[in-house]
Symmetry: C2
Subunit: 290 residues, 2 copies
């Protein structure tokens, strides 16, 4: 009997030990897996070809190039993601005029994802340029190109004609002080409210038949160069609403990291200068004209 009991006890203990060993072993294998290197490049290509048999789903974000600006378009929001320019003293002077320019749909955007003037007219929102018309006085065609609706967001009219306009003039002033001025502008939809559960909420209107997203904020990322090399970066996030003259540009400055986290965009993937001053307002007064 004691043999049988001993045999039984031994069996149970062993099974238990083997069970624990296997459990730990499998768990470890699992944990190892998640820290293994990713699939090899070849295997990735195979999986991609198999699963994306009918092509890679596309948001159409490849850059669209115009006479004097380049942009990426958000086919879901029906506004640009970012609009990039480089401006110089020469480009902001000349006889090109808005009176010859017309807002119109961008033929580079598929009609399913495009906006129309009718979306804006009567909506209570103005058609706000991201690459400003006024940065292109040297060339009528470059100015005309800024009127394609791919460069436009629904903007509060007082913001557009007020603070934002003064901000754009400030950017043009920078060309007197710096030999290169790169500017990237765009819209943001950020949380602005809190609900009864304490959750932060993103709230924004969509306008017109094409449901164009009205941004809660607008951003500009400005990189200035001295002697052909980057010398400072200034990033600004401005609410899309009337802003009184008493507010200065400084109050809207944020870090490059912050505007990248908010937009989801890396603005200067090839910029290697880690020591670059991320504070334009420390090398310039950041003073807006009245």
């Amino acid at each position: 009997m004691s043999f049988t009991r001993g045999y039984f006890a031994g069996t149970v203990t062993t099974l238990f030990a083997v069970g624990i060993y296997q459990y730990v072993n499998i768990s470890q294998r699992h944990i190892q897996h998640h820290h293994e290197s990713q699939l090899s490049g070849d295997l990735k290509e195979q999986v991609k070809r198999k699963i994306l048999k009918y092509g890679v789903p596309s948001k159409g974000e490849e850059p669209k190039v115009f006479t004097n600006h380049v942009l990426s378009y958000d086919q879901s929001k029906k506004t640009p993601v970012w609009v990039a320019e480089r401006i110089t003293k020469e480009q902001i002077q000349g006889s090109a005029s808005r009176k010859y320019s017309r807002f119109m749909p961008d033929p580079q955007i598929q009609s399913l994802f495009s906006t129309e003037n009718a979306d804006f007219l009567g909506s209570g929102w103005s058609r706000g340029h991201m690459a400003p018309a006024g940065n292109n006085k040297h060339d009528q065609r470059a100015m005309d190109d800024t009127f394609y609706l791919s460069n436009i967001v629904p903007q509060d009219i007082k913001n557009n004609a007020g603070f934002w306009n003064r901000f754009e003039m400030y950017c043009r002033e920078l060309t007197k002080k710096f030999d290169g001025v790169q500017i990237i502008s765009g819209p943001l939809t950020l949380p602005t409210e809190t609900d009864e559960k304490g959750q932060e909420l993103v709230v924004y209107p969509v306008i017109g038949k094409n449901q164009v997203s009205v941004p809660t904020h607008l951003y500009k990322v400005i990189l200035v160069e001295s002697n052909g090399s980057p010398s400072a970066i200034g990033c600004f996030i401005v609410p899309n609403k009337p802003i009184e003259n008493k507010y200065s540009l400084h109050e809207f400055q944020v870090s490059l990291k912050e505007v990248q986290r908010r937009t989801g965009v890396e603005f200067f993937p090839n910029l290697r200068n880690a020591d670059l001053q991320d504070n334009l307002c420390s090398v310039d007064s950041c003073t807006l004209g009245k």
Copy 2:
């Protein structure tokens, strides 16, 4: 005197005519410009190199490839844009189990744009798979890969365990009837409210330190194949909230065009079959199990 008057009248009339001619001419030039072909490819490359001197701003949307799914990630919303799979009868059977899998940040996503488990825990929102764990029973690694947070959206827990789970089971049922089943899933933030001015509003929470966007809706685009060729497409947009059993899948069906307009994504850029039936529920019952 009459000569002087005549001379004066002639001058005024001529100036007026010349003025009109020039105005019309400039307007026409302008209108012509906007209908001219775009910049040439060479010129575009020049402009791009000049303006994007520090690299092309990147939203990091290039596809990420896993053992059995491929996805594009939205660095701004901190959720996937789309997650693609192909499932077969064989893949949905096997011994792989969720009990060996752990939710964890995806090392392919930069930490600035990544989410963490802590964003979800205690938020009131569950971690909802887009490529479901249950589609990968054939392979533990494939299943594990679906637990990377790049495949996850904040999902109402009743929706996740209820209607959405039944919908996922329905997709697996399709493998019995069709020899190929391609599924693309993802989140949406659609207008759901109207403000006092009558504007449609998009309203959604963001959760956790990383402000992960909580979608208002989820979508699935399903393409089924018979004899290796596409035979039908079914597209569904489902609200991210509890859905009672009395609702059937039919009620959430939309056209491919509609889900493309909403997401901004072209799902099958290489699909040429214009006659393809855009209504899975007419070739299948679209009946969910209980």
